[in-house]
Assembly symmetry: C2
Homo-oligomer: 160 residues x 2
């Protein structure tokens, strides 16, 4: 199991899409600006998200990405699965054979843990996140900043 910035970036970007993509497609440049994620890196992540049919793309001017399903039908676990390998915590990937073809001493523990994590993350949809108060507040802060994109040297206290 691994959860690094790759998975975190993917969920953050998808949440940004859920927040801003209700009417028009959202470009990666927009997401990059709001969430401080490298544009080229986002391209890599969205290639995987598209392959896993979590987003649809629209090319050309005014284009970008939109969610391929409703916000309440996309779950955090799917997003992490799409960019990472999986949220599986076992060493064997479920085949119960990591000790020379036989099940190891701690296999069942990692299975239980995997179920725990997967159960938790597949119970949270983008819609759930969008509804959260903290998420709304943070999104409002990000929107305010991006509408008035001043260089770092001239940032006022009010903008922070």
């Amino acid at each position: 199991m691994r959860l690094t910035t790759k998975g975190r970036y993917a969920v953050t970007a998808m949440l940004d899409l859920a927040l801003h993509g209700s009417d028009r497609p959202v470009s990666l440049a927009d997401i990059s600006g709001r969430q401080d994620i490298s544009l080229s890196y986002l391209e890599q992540l969205f290639a995987k998200l598209r392959r896993n049919e979590l987003v649809k793309s629209v090319r050309g001017p005014g284009g970008g990405y939109r969610l391929s399903r409703a916000r309440d039908e996309i779950f955090v676990a799917e997003i992490i699965d799409a960019v990472n390998e999986s949220v599986d915590a076992t060493g064997c990937g479920g085949t119960a054979d990591c000790q020379q073809g036989e099940v190891c001493l701690t296999h069942h523990l990692w299975c239980d843990l995997s179920k725990q994590i997967h159960g938790f993350l597949s119970g949270i949809s983008l819609a759930n996140l969008v509804e959260r108060r903290e998420v709304k507040n943070i999104a409002a802060r990000q929107d305010a900043r991006s509408q008035n994109p001043a260089p770092a040297e001239t940032l006022t206290l009010a903008e922070l």
Copy 2:
């Protein structure tokens, strides 16, 4: 958050210690043989486990390691913490400042996930694992094999 073979090896080795270390210290060579973990790698892991006061060492012939506490007072979460950095899933480590000093969109989600994982793994002690039927069975298999250590070429079906 990361859970790789490092953390899995550590838990497996500690469980081996809980299973075999009731009367005498257990040498790393024994654990290495039973669990198929490189001896030198175990040495590295046990250096960390000792620094975190999860095990005590006994040098010299007949020496080895023993648990520094009772089996029901050592929890899986502690073991993983000792060798890995932590089971924390956030990018900020709890300081809520991963986006240029401010909290990011998904901070609360990763906090919740961390609590979930930590709650699960800190509720499982070595004593809990030792009592499990599957663990007993697998340990019995491993013991039978190690008492009759034949080279791979001459292994009989009965030994497998």
